[in-house]
């Protein structure tokens, strides 16, 4: 018996009367691989913190019930300094877990604390860097890496400590398809080494053969526990990374007749120092389209869309947005036509109330009747009644929709979304996408950067595939607007 949770109920300090965990009981055997899934705010992370003993030793708040780790109550361990000998955890915020100045140093920091000879330490480090696919990053400063790379470094730094129980909270949230399957096979290898692995993630198909049991959580309770087969009876096709940028099963895209494009990109080239981020992009985007730009991490998707509102200017090539030359037009003009919603809504929310938050953009464009617009956009995104709330108290999905509302209020014809479903659960993602469909029907052009294929295929009517700064495929689905 590795871990035993008995009737655990927990309230975070300073929160309302809803418990984060309510009467949770579960037993995890040594060598098991457990997948925890569920919508946001279901208590998945809290359960992980409880299992790692962090809740007991580092968090205030009311708790009842108990957690036993290796047959001993976690209360009896001498804090994290003793527990960290047995259990390690990868937190969901990869960036905050990277503290040192090079990837190598980051990974060494955990091992050196555990002693061992210099050769053993080096060997261990080389091993985890290799299995996590980050050997080529060893000298790079972690803060300068991409989201997916950071996530892999954080996982490597944790694995390096070689504890018998490893907990991972959403380790694949920012990874593309190929990196995700790498991580899942890595977890499977850990299981084969006899380690106990607990992972919080979406119910990805790759877990079917890897996970011993799945715990589905909802509103702080365990909803169901069972094998993957029992819970997800329908097999879904495993997505190959090639499918993100090359598809033979889809119809090639045919531009509509008789309409002039709203965005024209011609031979666009963009370099960051030595890296060629965009390598000769040429495409036309027509009014009213719903486009998904698919591609692996680092394929240049985000770089491309940042050119549409003037945040980036091309080194070579031309862009026209709604008749404006986007290589020279001022950003303040371009943002009235292209509204860019960033991946993380928290990079923009600063006001004390939702109303003020939306007002900020409206004042920038000198709106005459702001209150009418605010009501209008809030009802569009389904946030009526939140006007006086503090934006950061909304849920992640609501904050994401508020970010869309802030952009919508400025009435751009084109709405660009950068990874709009990261950090959202399936229900929230669908709410978000249905909102985009409604906006498309009301005449907006929607461009969305994503590596979520399900979302792209369900909602978009055109898919542009990108790889290494190039467009590798242009397809239409659902008939497109030309039909």
């Amino acid at each position: 018996m590795m871990i035993q949770v008995q009737n655990l109920t927990y309230f975070y300090p300073y929160t309302s009367n809803t418990p984060a965990l309510y009467d949770v009981s579960v037993t995890i055997r040594k060598g098991e691989l457990i997948l925890i899934t569920g919508p946001t705010a279901a208590g998945k992370t809290t359960l992980c913190l409880a299992i790692a003993g962090i809740l007991e030793h580092e968090f205030e708040g009311k708790k009842s019930g108990n957690v036993t780790f290796k047959g001993q109550d976690v209360k009896l361990y001498d804090g994290l300094s003793e527990l960290n000998q047995h259990v390690s955890m990868v937190f969901d915020d990869a960036d905050a877990q990277l503290i040192f100045t090079s990837v190598e140093e980051e990974i060494l920091s955990g091992i050196q604390m555990r002693g061992g000879s210099t050769e053993e330490i080096r060997e261990r480090m080389e091993h985890v860097m290799q299995v996590c696919g980050i050997t080529h990053l060893r000298d790079r400063p972690p803060y300068a890496l991409s989201g997916g790379q950071k996530q892999r470094v954080a996982i490597a730094a944790t694995l390096a400590m070689n504890t018998e129980c490893i907990i991972l909270d959403e380790p694949t949230s920012e990874l593309d398809v190929s990196a995700t399957s790498q991580i899942i096979s890595l977890l499977s290898a850990l299981k084969n080494e006899g380690k106990t692995v607990i992972v919080v993630d979406h119910s990805l198909e790759e877990y079917r053969l890897v996970a011993d049991r799945v715990i589905c959580m909802e509103k702080g309770r365990i909803h169901t526990i069972g094998t993957f087969e029992e819970i997800y009876t329908n097999k879904e096709p495993v997505i190959s990374p090639e499918a993100l940028y090359k598809r033979n099963d889809l119809l090639p895209y045919l531009p509509p007749d008789g309409i002039s494009p709203i965005i024209t990109v011609k031979d666009l080239v963009k370099r960051y120092d030595t890296i060629l981020a965009l390598d000769g992009i040429t495409t036309d985007i027509y009014p009213g389209e719903f486009i998904a730009i698919l591609g692996e991490n680092g394929s240049g998707k985000t770089t491309l869309v940042k050119h549409f509102n003037g945040l980036l200017r091309p080194d070579v090539g031309k862009i026209w947005v709604n008749g404006l030359d986007a290589t020279t037009a001022p950003v303040t003009t371009l943002v009235r036509h292209t509204g860019l919603v960033f991946q993380n809504p928290d990079t923009m929310l600063f006001a004390d109330t939702v109303r003020e938050e939306i007002l900020f953009g409206l004042m920038n464009v000198n709106e005459l009747d702001p209150d009418a617009v605010i009501l209008d956009v809030l009802s569009m995104v389904g946030l009526v009644g939140t006007q006086e709330m503090y934006p950061r108290h909304l849920s992640r999905g609501e904050r994401q929709r508020l970010a869309v509302a802030c952009i919508l209020a400025m009435r751009p014809e084109i709405i660009v979304l950068d990874e709009p479903t990261t950090g959202l659960d399936e229900a929230e993602s669908d709410t978000m996408m249905q909102l985009m469909e409604r906006l498309q029907q009301s005449g907006h052009t929607i461009i969305m950067v994503t590596h979520n294929m399900r979302i792209a295929e369900t909602y978009a009517d055109r898919i542009i595939g990108m790889e290494n700064g190039k467009i590798t495929g242009d397809y239409q689905i659902k008939g497109g607007i030309s039909s």
């Binding site: 915020d93 905050a96 040192f100 604390m113 002693g115 400063p141 940042k306 400025m410």
Partner: protein, 262 residues
């Protein structure tokens, strides 16, 4: 992106020195700076530090800071000249030829000397400290400070402070881009500038605070606060450390010698 106060990878002598040696050198140079009343000694020290920077190929970072250091000297000299008057008058801030207000604000020899003395003290201290940070990995820094029996919580606080600088720079840029996408237009005039800081600073602070918990837990999980298990293993001192010791002794002799000249 130019990085402020970050470790710069390299293989110079300074990079290979034991962090303890470097810490001793920094503490000694800073202390001597504070107590030295002699401008010549400080200038020689400054030349020495620049020489080290050139040898270790870190002078490029120093050159970037020259404008900042120039402003520092100007302000310090101006303040002391205005507030301290001792010794012979050697000129006036506003030349005597200017009618009515001419001849006010006399520059005295003592005031000017004190201003320069203060400036050079600060510059030597700043550059020495920077040379230390540029050439020492944060993990070695932690090790060095722990050997000096600094409480681990303070050491980690120091580590996290340095670690946050580039993160804040990048996060700040991201927030700036996000706000520009909403038509954000930094205001003009001082009042406008201050007002326009709000949309940038609030998300910056809120997002950084949100990270602190995970940073703390990560350090705990990696065992950084585990008692009685300090990571003082295979500390190697090389001949470079010995050489540094000899150089430090020479500097100390120079420091004492300057008093015999008084």
């Amino acid at each position: 992106m130019t990085e402020i106060l970050q470790y710069i990878p390299g293989s110079s002598v300074l990079h290979h020195l034991n962090p303890v040696t470097k810490l001793i050198a920094v503490i000694m140079i800073v202390t001597l700076c504070v107590f030295s009343p002699n401008l010549l000694f400080l200038i020689l020290l400054l030349i020495f530090i620049f020489f080290i920077a050139v040898v270790c190929k870190l002078y490029h970072e120093f050159l970037l800071q020259l404008p900042f250091l120039g402003i520092l000297i100007l302000i310090l000299v101006l303040i002391t000249v205005l507030t301290v008057s001792s010794g012979p008058v050697i000129g006036h801030l506003i030349p005597c030829a200017v009618p009515i207000i001419g001849g006010t604000f006399p520059i005295t020899f003592g005031g000017l000397l004190l201003g320069l003395l203060l400036s050079f003290r600060f510059i030597v201290m700043i550059l020495t400290f920077q040379l230390f940070i540029f050439s020492t990995k944060p993990s070695e820094l932690v090790r060095g400070l722990l050997i000096f029996r600094m409480p681990i919580d303070y050491v980690l606080m120091f580590l996290i402070t340095i670690r946050f600088i580039p993160s804040l720079q990048m996060e700040g840029r991201r927030i700036h881009e996000a706000q520009i996408s909403r038509g954000y237009n930094p205001g003009s005039g001082i009042k406008g500038k201050i007002k326009s800081l709000r949309p940038i600073l609030i998300p910056l602070v809120a997002n950084s605070l949100a990270k602190t918990q995970v940073i703390g837990l990560t350090l705990d999980m990696r065992g950084y606060r585990t008692k009685n298990r300090l990571l003082v293993h295979n500390d190697s001192y090389t001949r470079y450390d010995a050489l540094t010791g000899i150089i430090l002794i020479f500097i100390l002799i120079g420091f004492i010698f300057q008093f015999t000249l008084l």
